[in-house]
């Protein structure tokens, strides 16, 4: 439960900080929203994917937002990996709730399997950029439930809650991990740029008893292909570094580690 609690603290803490800036004028730490913000009233931060779409739409971008996007880009590319999805994104709480409910109700056991490719998100990512070119606005930002949720908390929700309900129901009844694991282009974007980051989950096959609890709970099961087979780090970009697998592992066979850039030694267990 350790990482789950930590993640919730970070996620909710960020929401509270952002919201406090607007509702109570507490701007010392963070202001703005996840699209662009100001840290400590001086450091600009910006969503690199939104900036990329704006660039595709043909906007002349100011240096402030470019610097902000570069900071976020470098952070996730070098350090965090796809951690945005599980540690920052508020929609993660919605999809986690849907997943939890799905497991409790055993929806997967009665549901006919719907096939959706995990690479769908990269198509959506491509479409986001293509449509930004054709419509002249950042296309995903016009429909993004992530921004809707975050802006909703910080600036007023409107009917944004409906979009979240749609995602919840979709993940619960239509497809397991449907939004975060298959469709969301922002997740795809961070999976691409986070591919070479430093922080990685490491598996120790010698300690593993192959109970497969980790695979059950992992929102991106493919990344755990090595479980009980070989000791190596989870290197696929799709891993969100959420630590759920570490939380459920009873055998101390999984843990966060720093990536060693030297060639990995593969051991057969």
């Amino acid at each position: 439960m350790k990482y789950l609690i930590l993640r919730r603290i970070v996620q909710i803490g960020l929401l509270v900080l952002y919201a406090a800036a607007n509702w109570y004028g507490f701007k010392t730490i963070l202001q703005g929203d996840l699209s662009a913000s100001l840290l400590f009233q001086s450091v600009p931060l910006a969503d690199p994917f939104a900036v990329l779409q704006m660039f595709a739409a043909g906007a002349a971008l100011a240096s402030t937002v470019l610097v902000g996007a570069a900071i976020i880009f470098v952070f996730y590319a070098l350090i965090g990996g796809r951690a945005f999805c599980s540690w920052v994104c508020p929609v993660n709480m919605v999809t986690d709730a849907a997943n939890w409910t799905r497991r409790k109700l055993q929806v997967s056991k009665v549901q006919k399997r719907v096939y959706m490719s995990r690479s769908l998100r990269y198509w959506v990512l491509g479409l986001s950029l293509l449509l930004s070119v054709f419509t002249g606005v950042a296309a995903f930002e016009m429909i993004s439930p992530i921004s809707m949720f975050h802006r909703g908390v910080v600036f007023g929700m409107g009917f944004g809650a409906a979009a979240l309900l749609v995602i919840f129901l979709f993940d619960l009844f239509v497809h397991e991990n449907g939004w975060c694991g298959h469709i969301c282009p922002l997740g795809g974007f961070y999976a691409l740029i986070g591919r070479f980051s430093l922080i990685r989950v490491k598996h120790d096959a010698d300690a593993c008893t192959a109970c497969m609890h980790c695979k059950e709970v992992c929102p991106e099961k493919e990344v755990l292909f090595m479980i009980a087979k070989s000791s190596e780090s989870v290197l696929m970009g799709e891993c969100t570094n959420c630590g759920r697998c570490i939380d459920v592992c009873n055998d101390d066979a999984l843990g966060f580690s720093l990536r060693s850039y030297a060639k990995q030694r593969k051991e057969q267990s």
């Binding site: 800036a21 607007n22 004028g25 701007k27 202001q31 703005g32 929203d33 699209s35 662009a36 913000s37 100001l38 600009p44 910006a46 969503d47 939104a50 900036v51 704006m54 739409a57 043909g58 906007a59 002349a60 971008l61 100011a62 402030t64 937002v65 902000g68 198509w123 959506v124 491509g126 479409l127 293509l130 449509l131 054709f134 419509t135 002249g136 606005v137 950042a138 296309a139 930002e141 016009m142 429909i143 921004s147 809707m148 802006r151 909703g152 910080v154 600036f155 007023g156 929700m157 409107g158 009917f159 944004g160 409906a162 979009a163």
Partner: protein, 267 residues
């Protein structure tokens, strides 16, 4: 039993077609939605905003302008408000723009969707904020519901205007109905009006009779083929103009022939 076989070539081509088809389907629905929601011409933008198409491209929807506004004038459009989602706007009847001297909402914009230069002027070689250069919209008077046009004395909008007697002027006219009273009719000077909406906010009628509209919506355009002959500067535009002649099939005939030609009128 004969087994249906699918050749690799068919598989390959079909999966390509499927990918293209699904993408096209998604793209059409998605772009149709985006085209619809961005077409909301009645939105009033913060000070110094670029023109609407450029603004929609450039605004990252961070809300820093909203948080900078000391009067809570600005809001970010939430889903269901029928405005391009997440973009800042204001509703003058609820909270107008109070035209702060230091314009705090503009410099915080990280993308320059709000352009500082457009509300700055140069004084002694230094750039200073000049809120009067702001252009968020233009006030329009509905002369039918405005009670000043009925002959009732009301100068609420005139008094509320921060550019008193510049952006709204009172036009004095005789009230011929009573024969002894005056009309004090408000008249907006569109060039001067900044669109702050203090007039709309102050208007005493049930629904405001003076309202701020985006310039693109409220104003017409005469076109450059009209020249004010009495205006020296405007007349300069045609000083070196050269005329063009349009020749059509009918130009070959003289005008008088055309008049005399009765065609099949009397047949």
């Amino acid at each position: 039993m004969k087994q249906d076989t699918v050749s690799d070539r068919r598989k390959f081509i079909l999966s390509l077609a499927r990918g293209a088809g699904l993408s096209a389907m998604g793209a059409l629905v998605w772009s149709a939605y985006v085209e619809e929601v961005k077409a909301a011409p009645l939105v009033l933008r913060p000070p110094a905003a670029r023109d609407e198409a450029d603004f929609l491209k450039t605004c990252i929807k961070c809300g820093l302008c909203v948080e900078a506004c000391p009067y809570d004038t600005l809001h970010l459009a939430a889903p269901g408000e029928h405005k391009p989602i997440g973009t800042p706007y204001y509703t003058p009847r609820e909270t107008p723009c109070y035209m702060c001297d230091d314009i705090p909402c503009v410099p915080v914009c990280p993308t320059e969707a709000l352009q500082p230069e457009s509300v700055q002027s140069v004084e002694n070689g230094k750039k200073v904020w000049d809120i009067e250069k702001m252009d968020m919209g233009v006030a329009v008077v509905d002369s039918q519901s405005c009670i000043a046009f009925w002959g009732i004395q009301c100068d609420a909008c005139y008094r509320a205007c921060p550019l008193l007697d510049h952006a709204i002027k009172l036009k004095y006219e005789q009230n011929s109905r009573t024969g002894k009273h005056a009309f004090l009719k408000p008249e907006v000077v569109p060039d001067v009006c900044t669109g702050c909406g203090l007039c709309e906010h102050a208007c005493v009628t049930e629904k405001a009779s003076i309202i701020v509209l985006p310039r693109e919506v409220a104003q017409g355009r005469a076109g450059n083929y009209y020249v004010k002959g009495w205006d020296k500067n405007d007349q300069m535009r045609v000083k070196n103009a050269t005329g063009g002649t349009t020749t059509t099939e009918r130009s070959k005939r003289k005008a008088i022939d055309t008049l005399n030609d009765t065609g099949d009128l009397f047949e």
